[in-house]
């Protein structure tokens, strides 16, 4: 029995741990989910803000660049309208083209190198060339000072042969074309931002030539941490990077721009070992010059750091929350499991009590059954030999040559067999009642007839008591009963009243209606039942302090009460003191019950 409470204790512990685990799981899931969403939102927010900032910087750069391109185009367009240039082209004076253009370009050229070079947005051209009607470069006049490796004059701007050939276009465009052309062979040769403007004949509207102006590319100072450069002809020009970094990025740009149809894009990359977001956008969309891209680098370090910080913050919050949740869960689980534990303990006690009671009940019922079976078996087994015995004795009595003493002896023995049979009958009856097998067929029985019948019998008996019998009962006492067993009750009671009487005593039998009940009181004189025995007089085989001279076997009262209860009534000892002992029998009145019975039978 010691193992069970321990197991139960383990069960409670497991229950508490399960509750705790479930709550922890729930809280962790909710908290984790919430934090995850919050973190993601915050990260998205940060990324969005970063992108907005970035886009704004790029947009401002782009609009500045567009303004610049418009200005360049306007300059070029103004030049393309100049009468001298038209005159040289249209009035048959090609040799005057460059010299006359020089005059026109005086304000565009020249000043660029003197003092204006520092200005990033300078609109002073570095050089100019003309293209003929097929897009080929019209060579400038041979320089006056021989020995120069470069073509052109200081007036037209000096260009190497290769650089000059890059200016050529496959046919003259309708619109001004922007191009970014590398200068020189060296890595730091820089770029020229060129614009090619068609010259339209005033005579016939045809595009007869084009003027190409070369400028120093503008370097836009955008947001402070954005580095911008230009990627053209497979080379990146971004002065803030090392040449090695520029080469690496160039290779990446080669790959990214190889995909057609994307004038802009972005990717994450490493520039000189730092994470950067690279955004590129085509500088000269639709141009006949080779494609060039503006490349902007935005350092991701800040964003990464910000996101890292966010992650830490949320991680810390998650840890604090989890610890708090653990504590709360623990408390709550304890509080939740306490009543459950109490309930479980109570039910455990109840269960063991019930088990014990059930076991006792089982034992009792087993014993009861055994005793009932024993009574029945005993009665049946005894009845036959008693009958055989009596038959033998009666045969012996029939023998003629018996002495009178012998005859009396045998008669006495026969009387004993009747007593024995009576005991066996009583026992049989009791055992049937105990087994619940006795069913009364309750009908209306007149109790008065039964009393009168017994009184008649009593008068016939040889009696040494000289009893005085008083009766007081109405003629009609209809009770619910089965005549055979109702008689048995009365018989037992009246027999007792006679047996336990004193000489010269009396018996009084009274009966009356009491509502639905009929009460019969049977009193007799004689020694009273001592108080210590009164509780036991209705038990089997209890004979109280009756002397051995009093016949009886201690089953009468027990049988009478059992039968009275089977009738739906009761038998009580009302009084036993002085010289008077009185029993009271209550039985249900047949008059009151007849209606009910009829209804039940119907």
């Amino acid at each position: 029995m010691s193992a069970e409470p321990k197991a139960a204790g383990n069960g409670f512990g497991a229950f508490r741990i399960r509750v705790l685990l479930a709550m922890m799981l729930l809280v962790s899931a909710v908290a984790g989910g919430g934090l995850w969403f919050a973190q993601r939102n915050a990260a998205d927010e940060a990324r969005g803000e970063f992108q907005r900032e970035f886009s704004a910087a790029l947009a401002s750069t782009r609009s500045v660049r567009e303004v610049r391109h418009a200005l360049l185009a306007e300059r070029a367009r103004a030049l393309a309208r100049r009468p001298r240039i038209h005159a040289a082209l249209e009035d048959g004076a090609p040799e005057l083209l460059y010299p006359s253009a020089h005059d026109e370009l005086a304000d565009v050229l020249g000043g660029a190198d003197a003092g204006m070079a520092g200005l990033p947005y300078a609109l002073h051209a570095r050089f100019y060339r003309f293209l003929d009607a097929h897009g080929a470069v019209i060579p400038p006049p041979v320089p006056l000072h021989a020995g120069s490796a470069e073509a052109g004059t200081p007036d037209t701007g000096m260009l190497g042969a290769e650089e000059e050939s890059r200016l050529a276009l496959p046919g003259l465009p309708e619109e001004p074309q922007i191009g970014y052309l590398p200068r020189g062979g060296a890595a730091d040769g820089g770029l020229d931002e060129v614009i090619a403007m068609p010259i339209v004949s005033s005579e016939n509207g045809d595009r007869i030539a084009a003027i190409v102006l070369g400028f120093r590319p503008a370097e836009f100072a955008g947001a402070e941490d954005i580095h911008s450069g230009i990627w053209a002809a497979g080379r990146l020009h971004l002065t803030s990077l090392s040449s090695r970094g520029q080469e690496l990025l160039s290779a990446e740009m080669d790959r990214e721009t190889a995909r057609p149809g994307h004038p802009e894009g972005s990717f994450t990359t490493q520039a000189d070992g730092a994470p950067e977001l690279l955004f590129f956008t085509r500088l000269n969309p639709g141009s006949r010059f080779p494609p060039a891209y503006q490349v902007s680098l935005f350092p991701l370090a800040n964003l990464r750091a910000h996101q890292q910080r966010l992650l830490w913050q949320f991680g810390g919050a998650a840890a604090v929350l989890l610890v708090a949740a653990f504590g709360a869960s623990h408390l709550l689980a304890g509080r939740l499991s306490r009543p459950v534990e109490r309930l479980a303990a109570d039910s455990e006690e109840h269960r063991s009590g019930r088990v014990r009671a059930e076991a006792a009940l089982e034992t009792t019922s087993r014993e009861l059954a055994r005793s009932a079976r024993f009574s029945a078996d005993a009665s049946h087994q005894l009845k036959t030999p008693v009958t055989v015995l009596r038959a033998g004795l009666e045969e012996m009595l029939a023998v003629r040559d018996l002495q009178p003493e012998q005859r009396e002896e045998i008669a006495s023995l026969i009387h004993q067999t009747f007593r024995l049979a009576s005991i066996i009958d009583d026992l049989l009856l009791l055992s049937r009642m105990d087994a619940g097998r006795l069913r009364l067929n309750l009908v209306g029985v007149n109790l008065s007839d039964l009393i009168a019948g017994w009184l008649d019998d009593l008068g016939a008996l040889p009696d040494g008591h000289a009893l005085d019998i008083k009766t007081d009962y109405p003629a009609a006492l209809p009770v619910l009963g089965e005549a055979r067993y109702t008689t048995l009750i009365l018989q037992n009671l009246l027999e007792n009243a006679r047996k336990y009487n004193r000489v010269g005593g009396n018996i009084r039998v009274t009966a009356r209606h009491e509502g639905d009940w009929i009460t019969v009181a049977i009193g007799n004189t004689g020694r009273p039942i001592p108080p210590s025995s009164r509780e036991h007089i209705f038990e089997r085989f209890h004979r109280g302090n009756a002397g051995e001279d009093v016949p009886g076997h201690g089953l009468g009262l027990n049988l009478a009460r059992e039968l009275a209860r089977l009738h739906g009534g009761d038998l009580r000892l009302v009084r036993s003191e002085g010289d008077w002992t009185e029993f009271e029998l209550s039985l249900r009145s047949a008059e009151a019950q007849s209606a009910v019975l009829k209804v039940q039978e119907a």
Binding site: R81, P83, A87, G92, A93, E203, N204
Partner: protein, 228 residues
């Protein structure tokens, strides 16, 4: 007053003087042409001009498909030379007025000096890149004295532009003959004081189109020559 009238009167007065001088010189120097009384008249079929806005009344040089032509259409009818030059160079004038050349088409005999008075309140810069005659007068205003001028020795067509005003254009047709006349806007012309004999009569219509036919002129008579 209408620009046309001012143009005509100026033109006429200027050229009457020139022709008179040439005529007198010819008479004095060459007895063979003592009586140049023949004349030719007719009509040149001018290109159909699109209806011009009312405000455009003066002549301009317009280009279309690479061809320079006066607008509204006008022809120069002249007797093909060579004829001897006058002993003293003739002087012609081509003004810049209201941001345009006036006249826009000027036929002259080779050797004529042309003055370019600026009648506007702004600078003009007359120049020509034409192979026939290249010059650049530079910028000047109306108070420039002497009036900038150029002498045109080589026959041919000279395109004049203004370096400041890109739309300004003029043509000077330098001819080897003193016998030339501008048609009226309808194409009619009358060329007087011509020497009798067989001559080639030409009608310049635009920079690419010059019609010609042979005419026989009789003294004192007016021949008829139409250019279809």
């Amino acid at each position: 007053m209408s620009p046309r009238f001012s143009y005509k009167s100026a033109f006429r007065s200027a050229w009457t003087a020139v022709l008179l001088a040439a005529f007198l010189t010819a008479i004095l120097s060459s007895p063979a042409f003592a009586d140049e009384t023949a004349s030719v008249a007719g009509m040149v079929a001018l290109p159909k001009a699109p209806p011009a806005p009312v405000m455009v009344r003066r002549y301009e040089i317009v280009s279309s498909r690479g061809v320079l032509a006066p607008f509204p259409p006008l022809a120069v009818i002249y007797l093909e030379g060579p004829f001897p030059r006058p002993p003293t160079p003739a002087v012609a004038s081509m003004a810049q007025k209201d941001l345009a050349f006036d006249p826009a088409l000027l036929p002259i005999q080779a050797g004529t000096r042309v003055e370019f008075p600026n009648l506007d309140n702004t600078y003009h810069n007359i120049f020509s890149f034409s192979p026939t005659k290249r010059f650049d007068l530079g910028r000047y205003r109306s108070d420039e004295r002497p009036i900038p001028s150029e002498t045109f020795e080589v026959p041919g067509l000279v395109t004049l532009r203004c370096d400041i005003h890109e739309h300004m254009r003029a043509l000077i047709l330098v001819l080897d003959t003193p016998h030339f006349v501008l048609s009226d806007p309808s194409g009619h012309y009358r060329l007087k004081g011509l020497p009798p004999g067989r001559h080639v009569l030409k009608a310049w219509i635009d920079s690419r189109t010059t019609l010609s036919q042979t005419v026989t002129l009789n003294d004192g008579a007016e021949a008829a020559a139409d250019f279809p």
